[in-house]
Structure formats: structure tokens, C-alpha cells
Symmetry: C2
Subunit: 375 residues, 2 copies
């Protein structure tokens, strides 16, 4: 291969993550990451390369994502072949070091749905919010509970997070004093959209789930506690959701695909599949340079295919560029949890910097980082 | 005026509602309604008319909505002048009878937020869902409670609504047996977006609220009851939200602007304004040709400016093309309510047709209609 990939990079030819770069002095455009460089797909196609792929145009990956899965796989093969062959001058010219690129949110988001798919997280929060009740609400084991989040504030890793102000209680308003993180995976939807009224069958999940990003669903717990009844979280979550810039294709995560935990009661038919949609991805939370939690996505109770089938079982259209996040990924012990409230750490102070990382075997998810600015 | 406007049309030159038409044999394009015709804004500009306005391009009104309020007002004046003057051949050619047009959703929706702003509706539902408690939850009088709805299923009036299936309880799945309507107003956002982290001040509401549509927020009550804890409604609302096709500018509703009800406790500073943001708009619900409820938007407890200020007080970006719905508009008596569950009517049967209408003085909101198809 003619591109140097540092040892342990996680972004070798087995990954081929897609993103949107804004190289110095140029407009945003789709790219593929290889090692510490980005391959500018618009430049490649302008030079007559990669012409089997759909045209990479515009400032997002939506057109590419909207193509059928067969096209995703074909483009992946073409890119591998291109990287393995002797480079043409156009190939060399299209390779841009990452440190010369700003990253952009890689998709024009349609609907962003955030689920609540870790049983450990749901139970941990249940114990905190409802100490006298059953940690899990009655519906939790029957359906992948989720809600629609705000699309306008999904931001790329590195975007500063200003401490939000909001209502905190009767007559009480001000900057949140309980600013928290939530470590999540986000599944980016692709493929031609289903028609209104026609659910996506769970067995078709592979045709509609393109890839994975890391998500930090920043949360203001004091706002959340006050506002969430009866319509769910709103301001507590809508000020910022950070995602990693490179979408790692599901294809790249095949070696990490694992069976999920047993589900009891057995899921309803629309949520039942023999396919494995859990992924062995080691995750960690770093706060100001110190790793404060380590967990793994493999034990998520509800998986990505179940989330997708649920979101559209009522006939809702799921569009390329939608994002389905898992909700906080936690284990049982505090040091295996994905939020500060569960880890038992103080909430975030101004100036704190949080980095979430994911490593799935030979494949990396780029970190998602954010620093807290004062209100 | 050279266009004939039928008596009582509500779409005379004092209205000038904007929409997106798809004339027979032509692509979708922005238009203004006058009487029973649409004035094709793309055709007008191609013919050298209305050149003071931003270019009307594409299949949505988003570019126009993104312009500052001064531009909205200027275009309105230009359109009035054009309609009052002797028509040029290009003007006559751009006038298309509505019965030769299909209507489209007029905006590419960013975020759709649905509020819960009628105190009567909140109390009615509180009594039904929590018969032993206070009808209003503790936060209700302090903040305009709301949640993010699904953007992908916002559909234009006339779109058939297929009865959705969904989870109804433990092990129970099937077509909803409690299909309901919700009569709402929807405020369409315009103006240049605020920067991330910079709330929209309530006094700037006029710069960001472009106009009004009618909304039918179809709801599956059995799904809602089962799923809504703790993250709010999801599948119960995400299968369809119908809106009227013509956005009536706030400017057209000036004569109907009224003071809202007194608010106790006094609203927090970010929700306080001397401006009036309630509108005297008579509303009715028609079921299979029979009017079953009549109400008025004037008494909504939380108003459009408060909803906007709330949605962005945490710094969330509000974009042109966003939709802020009021939640169900109800009075105290059953026959003044905006949902079947409150009116005390049976839930919708297959084949039922619902039409919601709004009349604000001399200005009409186009009806929003929908017919229920079997699961």
C-alpha cells in the first residue's frame, strides 16, 4: 500500500471510514481516512478515478449513504484496490494530511433518535431517580425505549461546549450545575428510504445501517430532572451532542460482531432476529487526561437492528443521514459506566475536557472530544 | 386587483400565504396563494419580475425563510404592488389554478418541536392519565413543556394516514385501537439562525417566527400510554404529522394579535415579554363532514414567542424551516377540545376523514385534512 499507516492506527485499509473534510483553503468535501491522511473523494473523481462509485458531491455524505448497500461494498473494494495498486499522480494529489483538514459533521442529519439500550445504565439511573421503585420501568424489557433528539446541535468532535443555562426548578434559572456526559455509539443510517407506512423489517437492517460513530450526549441533569415529565428530556439534552468525525462502516466491524445478551421476555416478532448486531468495541472515558471508566458496547441489551426496526415499526420513514444512538453504555461497576452520575464523579467544571474513545479489534473509532466553556 | 378572489376566501392580498406547488407536468416550486390560484414565484422571477426578492429556487421555501424579516416584508409589499398594478403577460402566465397543482410540504424541516401549551389540554389529559393526582404536573406553569417530534413524517394535508401498528403492552403488538387527532397551530421559523450557544431573546421573536400552519398531530394513545415513561412519546406520534400547505405570514395575522391569559407564577425573565404573541384564530374539528368541536387559539397559555425562547435558551440553534407546534388546543368543555379523547368521542375508525380548519378574521389558514387507511 502506498499510504503509510502507523502501527496500531486503527485506520488501515480494513477500516476505510468516511467523513467530510475541509482542507485548508478549500470547501468541505467527502473523504476516506487512511492512516493519518484523508483521501479527497471529490478530487479523485475529478481526476477520473473511482468512477464506479456514485458522484461524491456537496458537503455531506448523504448522497453516498442513500445508495444501496451493494454500492457501499463496491466502493469499499475499489478503494482497497486503489490503495493496493501503484498510485497514479491523481491519487497522490488527493491525499491530504489530517492536520491540514478541519472536520465537519459528515451528514446532513434528518432525524436523530437516542435510545436507552443499556440495561445497566437504565437500572443505574432508575435507582438514582426512583430509589424506592423497581430500577427498570415496566416497559423497559419489552421495547427499546427512545426519544427524538435535536438535530441542529449535533456537532463534530472538538466543538467547544458552552455550559447551558436553563430552568432548574420553580422560579430557578441559571447555568446547569450538573453537567454530565453520556458515552454512546451512534449508528448512521443509509440506503434508500422506506416508504411512509412501510416499516423496515429487522432482517433488512444490513441494508440500512451504514456505520458507526462515537457519541457524547452531553446532559444537564438538573434541567432534566425538572423538565422531563411527561414528555421526556428536552433542554437537558438539546444544547450539544458531539460525534466522532469518521463513520466506521459496519463492514469494517465484521470481526467484532458478537451475540448480544439473552433477552427475557423474548422480544416481539418485529424485534426478533438471528443476526448478531452487537459489536465488541472497547470504550473508554478520559477526563482531563485521566481514564476514569472502561466499558464495552458488546453487552448492550437492545441492538442496532432492534433500534432500527423499532423506530420504523409504525411506518415512520427512516432516511439516509439519520442517527440512532444507543444511549449511555454502562457496566455494573461505577468504573465501567458511561456517565459521571453513575461513575460517582463530580459533574463537569468549566475547562474540563472529555475524550471518549472506541477500539474494536484492528479498527478504531476516532475519539470524540469536547471542552467545557463557561456559561 | 387582476386576480379574482372569491368572497370570504381568506386568501386575498391581506393574506399572501407561501407554499410549494407541484403544477401538472412541472417540478415543485415556491408560490404564493391568491384566491384559488397560486402565483409561481420561479416563473415570475424567470420573467424578470420580483427581482428585489431573494431568488426563489429549489423545492422548498427554506432559502426565502432564511432571509431577514425585512426581506419578508419587502417581498410582501412587492407582491401586493404586483397584484394591484396592471398585469404583465408574465404575471398572467405565472398564475396557476390550485386545482392544477399538487401541494408539497413547504419546507425542508430541520427540527420539529411539539409543545404542550394549552392549560386546558394539559389538565384534561392529566385527569385522564393520573386521575388521583394534580391535573397539572409541578413544572407545567413554570416552563413551556415540549419534546422533539419526528421530522421525516411531517406530511402535507391530504396525505393518507395508515393506521400504525406498535407495541401496546407486555407481549402485545398490533394496530393501534386508540387512534386520535390533535388540533394544533404550527409556527414556522425563519430568519438567519442563531449561533450555537447564543439563545434567541424573546424580544427577537418577530425576527424568527415567519408564519403559521395548522397541524394535526395524529396520536396512538395506547402506544403512548405504554411507551412514554421515562423519555416521552415516540412511536405514538412519529408515524404522521399533517400540516396545512400554505404558511400564513405573521404579518397577515396582525389584526388577530391578542394578549394571552395572565400567567401565574409570573414567567421567568427569558419567557417574559410585553409583546402579544397570542392570535385570535377560530378553529374547528370536522369528522366525516360533521363539526364536532370549535375552539380558539387565543387562550393558549404559552405563546409562540415563549416557545421559541424556551427552545433556544440553552443555546440550541433554531434554523429556518423548523416547526414549533403548540400542542393540542382545547377549551374546558368537551366540545371545545382538540382531541377525541377529550371530546369524549370514539377513536378513529378506518375510512374516517378529519378536517381541521382555522379562520383568523379576514385571513384563512388552509384546512389540514387526512383520511385513515387500514393497518
Amino acid at each position: 500500500m502506498w499510504v503509510d499507516v502507523p502501527e496500531g492506527s486503527g485506520f488501515g485499509p480494513e477500516n476505510l471510514a468516511f467523513g467530510v473534510i475541509a482542507p485548508r483553503g478549500a470547501g468541505a468535501r467527502p473523504a476516506v481516512r487512511i492512516g493519518d491522511s484523508a483521501l479527497d473523494l471529490v478530487a479523485l473523481q475529478s481526476a477520473g478515478r473511482l468512477l464506479g462509485a456514485p458522484r461524491f458531491l456537496g458537503t455531506t455524505l448523504n448522497d453516498f449513504l442513500a445508495a444501496p448497500r451493494a454500492v457501499w461494498l463496491e466502493v469499499r473494494e475499489e478503494l482497497r484496490a486503489l490503495l493496493a495498486a501503484e498510485p497514479e499522480p491523481a491519487d497522490l494529489a488527493a491525499l491530504i494530511p489530517l492536520d491540514e483538514c478541519e472536520m465537519r459533521v459528515p451528514v446532513a442529519l434528518g432525524d436523530y433518535v437516542d435510545f436507552f439500550s443499556s440495561i445497566e445504565h437504565a437500572a443505574n439511573l432508575g435507582r438514582l431517580f426512583r430509589p424506592d421503585g423497581d430500577p427498570l420501568l415496566p416497559n423497559w424489557r419489552h421495547i427499546p425505549v427512545g426519544y427524538h433528539g435535536r438535530a441542529s446541535t449535533v456537532a463534530v468532535s472538538g466543538t467547544a461546549v458552552r455550559r447551558p443555562s436553563g430552568p432548574l426548578g420553580p422560579g430557578d434559572f441559571g447555568p446547569t450545575q450538573m453537567l454530565d456526559i453520556e458515552l454512546e455509539l451512534g449508528f448512521v443510517i443509509g440506503g434508500p428510504p422506506n416508504a411512509l407506512g412501510e416499516p423496515v423489517a429487522i432482517e433488512s437492517a444490513a441494508d440500512r445501517i451504514f456505520g458507526v460513530v462515537l457519541v457524547n450526549d452531553w446532559s444537564a441533569r438538573d434541567v432534566q430532572r425538572w423538565e422531563y415529565q411527561p414528555l421526556g428530556p428536552f433542554l437537558a439534552k438539546s444544547f450539544a451532542t458531539s460525534i466522532s468525525p469518521w463513520i466506521v462502516p459496519i463492514e469494517a466491524l465484521e470481526p467484532q460482531r458478537v451475540a448480544g445478551p439473552a433477552q427475557e421476555p423474548p422480544p416481539l416478532p418485529y424485534l426478533s432476529t438471528e443476526q448478531h448486531w452487537n459489536f465488541d468495541i472497547a470504550l473508554e472515558v478520559e477526563l482531563n487526561g485521566e481514564v476514569i471508566s472502561r466499558t464495552n458496547a458488546r453487552s448492550l441489551y437492545w441492538n442496532a437492528a432492534q433500534q432500527l426496526a423499532h423506530a420504523s415499526v409504525n411506518g415512520a420513514v427512516v432516511r439516509p443521514g439519520d442517527l440512532h444512538a444507543t444511549g449511555t453504555i454502562s457496566g455494573t461497576a461505577p468504573e465501567e459506566c458511561g456517565s459521571l452520575i453513575e461513575i460517582g464523579r463530580p459533574f463537569l467544571a468549566d475547562g474540563d475536557e472529555v475524550v471518549l474513545r472506541g477500539v474494536g479489534g484492528a479498527v478504531s473509532l476516532e475519539a470524540v472530544a469536547g471542552r467545557i466553556e463557561p456559561a
